[in-house]
Symmetry: C2
Subunit: 294 residues, 2 copies
């Protein structure tokens, strides 16, 4: 068997994403050692019990000592502080990356703490479930899904190539795009759908009185899917909305306009307008299936 | 084996729902004969090729002759005209029902055409997929799902009981509720989620320029689910919105208010408000799982 891509990998945060990276990297033999560190002793104990990494502790800096690749897998809002905490332990030539669902603010938060001689290459695997914590970690989570790299203009080319090889090794397809484009694309494909799902489940819950239990009881196809999405981790998603504010507000504005258009069509009995949109969206689904992303 | 519940069943419309009723009723031995009729010769031919009913034709009235149970399985907007077309062929004592996703307007459209001595019992199986047409018909579609009966004050008690037995025979749980409550509950659990999904997929598609193909390519969890919902049949859903206007506009208004609240929280950086809602919606998902409807 060929030499692993990395000697030692350190994962900072070991929930759904960090834990899945650990499982998959071990299975695919991408590193000799895989260590992790997390904030709480409880999560560390659970990660150790589940044998996600070789070892998981609570000293973030200690975990990064001698690491060739460090991936920060915390909620977006914790990426800056976590990087600050590990900075002094990073060895020259080490690659530091992350998995945050927002890229511009995470880059702004992490970059200032990266020492000279350490390579920073931001990334975002577009894969996940609504579950969180070490117990949510899964093999095959990244299989066939995209991982977006958003290198900085001065990112080291070899480091970018090596991180790309790593994500391909985990089963992903890799694409490099601009951090700003990333944030705009994800605002519409992921952040807005989550915001909408959270909203509608809340609205349904507020329809108090005798309807409330019936609403849950007869949860049909549509609503059921929304409750699943709206069960996603509150901390992660608060951080996403606080950190991708501009792009989310912009697509939200467009969405509101479009929804008012349909609202008006319903009010005035203009069925054709609905029919035309519904026909168009059906085609989009077919396009997605064609792209194997459905 | 005991005598089947019905001698002859006639299904008017043989797509996802009509076709699934035919398959399941035959498998479970609920009728001696199951015939169907639909508008177009193409759909009839497909239904015959798939052997959904014993026979499918295009003469709606002819199919209903001597039937003990007739279920109108067309889009909501076609229920009235279809009932008018079959009225003269209905025998005394026959039960007429439907499967429409809206109940008040369907009742208003169908009831005037029901002859003296024929029993009208409206129903709505809360089960489905985003596919339509005869090829979408499935066994086990109704298994464990609710079927809501919305009998009229003067509905014949024996006829209601017999229809209830039929839906239980198809695997459903049955509940009787008021048509008005039905329409309000479904507006939030099914109609609004569909409207939102259609809207957001349209909004994403309109984000033209170079982002468009990327939007599809990186369709993450949230958006993927929405495109599936937004692939549902345009005619069926146009009819639903045109026929449940009041209830949909009312919940849409509430939803808009709730969404503006979150929009404002994002704009002003009030993460706590988001976190609180996201925590509450997570509980609702748990309640649903507890009710075995997730
Ligand atoms: N979930 C998805 O679908 C998905 C998809 C793609 C990318 N992402 C991104 O991946 C990242 C992690 O998400 P996840 O779903 O894996 O979350 P998760 O399951 O909740 O795990 C988060 C991990 O980060 C740790 N952590 C939280 N705050 C910390 C802090 N202040 N310092 C150190 N560690 C901290 C947690 O440790 P403790 O339990 O010890 O506090 C836990 O180990 C987020 O940036 C998210 O945007 C998520
Ligand atoms: N889809 C769901 O998830 C779901 C769930 C519960 C209830 N429902 C309700 O079930 C009903 C049928 O939905 P579906 O999903 O089964 O639809 P579908 O698969 O599109 O099938 C509709 C059937 O009705 C026929 N039809 C349409 N217009 C007609 C007309 N004017 N006269 C006679 N036949 C006509 C169609 O025939 P041709 O092809 O020959 O035109 C087809 O056989 C709707 O009222 C819907 O609200 C749907």
């Amino acid at each position: 068997m060929s030499e692993p891509l990395f000697g030692k990998i350190a994962l900072i945060g070991i929930g759904l994403i960090g834990g899945s990276i650990a499982l998959e990297a071990r299975k695919r033999g991408l590193a000799k050692h895989i260590v992790a560190a997390t904030r709480s002793a409880e999560t560390a104990a659970l990660a150790n019990k589940l044998k996600l990494a070789d070892h998981c502790g609570t000293d973030l800096a200690e975990a990064c000592r001698d690491a060739d690749l460090v991936i920060v897998c915390t909620p977006v809002g914790a990426c800056g502080p976590a990087t600050k905490a590990i900075a002094s332990a990073l060895k020259p030539g080490c690659i530091v990356s992350d998995v945050g669902s927002v890229k511009q603010t995470v880059i702004a938060d992490m970059a200032p703490h990266i020492p000279e001689g350490v390579h920073f290459v931001p990334a975002h695997p577009v894969a996940g479930t609504e579950n969180s914590g070490p117990e949510a970690a899964l093999l095959d989570l990244f299989q066939g899904r995209w991982c977006i790299l958003t290198p900085l203009p001065d990112s080291d080319a070899d480091a970018v190539a090596k991180l790309e090889a790593f994500w391909k090794g985990l089963g992903s397809q890799v694409e490099r795009i601009d951090a700003k484009d990333h944030d705009r694309i994800l605002a519409i494909t992921s952040h807005l759908p989550h915001l909408i799902a959270y909203t509608i489940v809340g609205t349904a819950d507020d329809l108090g009185g005798h309807l409330n239990s019936e609403v849950l009881k007869f949860a049909a196809g549509g609503f059921r899917d929304f409750t699943r999405i709206a069960a996603s981790d509150p901390t992660m998603w608060r951080d996403v909305f606080m950190n991708n504010r501009e792009a989310v507000l912009e697509v939200l504005q467009r969405f509101q306009e479009d929804l008012f258009y349909l609202q008006r069509a319903i009010r005035w009995g203009e069925g054709d307008k609905l029919f035309d949109l519904f026909t168009r969206t059906r085609e989009i689904r077919r396009a997605l299936i064609h792209l194997h992303q459905a």
